[in-house]
Assembly symmetry: C2
Homo-oligomer: 182 residues x 2
DNA sequence: CTGTTACCGTAACGCCTGTTATGGAAATAC
DNA sequence: GTATTTCCATAACAGGCGTTACGGTAACAG
């Protein structure tokens, strides 16, 4: 006897979570603010999530799904890495949200393991792409370098788009890759 | 008619702020938690700071002073950059605190300008060191690359010390520098 | 039509927050 | 000695928080 699309509602709440988090950060992320951003009340939110933690966990999982889907749609080392950079407004917002979840994971034992696993899988993915392109390289070392570089660029660009416009981000990445794979 | 050392008290509170922030993050950073970590009560804290914002601003400024002092004690590009990595427990804690302030700056218009200024000054500092070593390089580009790289390594190492032990962090940095300045 | 169930707005609850007020002990000033 | 000021613990306060309970509306079932 389902009347509304449950998943649609949960996705709508997730989007509201990102919206609030992007605008006000973790500190401003309250149930009431999320509900307002979703155009409803806390009653609706609590109807679909047992509590704030579950809501946040779902929003985080959905964010990762989106990121994964975007990267999976790409081919080749340069394109895959570039997809992880905040090259447009949407991805800049996503980067800001991602940073919020990142520091949350630093202090939340429930989130930390998944965060670490994801980072490691991402490094391994890049390492395998490097190994394909040039087996002579230390793929693990180069992958950690590249992931660090792109994460750093994303972080700096999120805070200072003026000095890290899209063209500059791309330039940094391409320049490094050209030295790595001449 | 000063009885106690005011600066000593403020510094003690600052240290308590870092301690709580490292352990519990921004979410767990309450006046009461800070007071307890400092071994006193909120009455003492409010006696030396007009409010939470001022306390945090002071703690943040002190953190930057410490970082600056450490870097200023070093010479040469490699050593300066290495000093910014979380190579020991103390700097790993500091990196976690720094990340908290970083995301706070993303959503706080009062903190953002200073954050951006500091990042830019840091990039410029690295750029000038690069220009000295090899004027043929695009110092600005290489500096942004290096700063992104070290920031990324610091972030990843803070979350996953297992995959980014001190030796690995150094290896990543040295390896990149060796390609940059053969 | 009647009963049941999904949906969710409204509102109350207790807790914890930053802030402010109060009061008193201790040190200095005179 | 008294007066004054610094220092800070204690506690009260209003506001906002996540959570929970309640109630009504609308959709389906029989």
């Amino acid at each position: 006897m389902r009347i509304v699309d449950t998943e649609e509602r949960r996705r709508r709440v997730s989007q509201a979570v990102w919206e609030v988090m992007d605008r006000a950060g973790f500190a401003g992320l309250t149930m009431r603010a999320v509900a307002e951003a979703a155009g409803c009340t806390t009653g609706m939110v609590t109807h679909y999530f047992a509590g704030k933690r579950e809501m946040l966990a779902f929003a985080r999982a959905r964010m990762h799904e989106r990121m994964d889907a975007r990267v999976r749609a790409r081919d080749g080392l340069a394109d895959v890495l570039e997809e992880s950079l905040p090259l447009d407004a949407e991805r800049r917002a996503e980067t800001r949200v991602w940073l919020n979840f990142l520091v949350a994971a630093l202090h939340d034992p429930d989130l930390a393991p998944d965060h670490v696993d994801r980072n490691r899988a991402w490094q391994d993915r890049i390492a395998s792409l490097i190994a394909e392109l040039n087996p002579a390289l230390d793929a693990s070392l180069e992958a950690q370098t590249l992931v660090s570089l792109t994460d750093g660029v994303a972080t700096l660009a999120a805070a200072d788009p003026g000095r890290f416009p899209p063209a500059r981000q791309r330039e940094i990445l391409r320049h490094h890759l050209s030295r790595l794979l001449p």
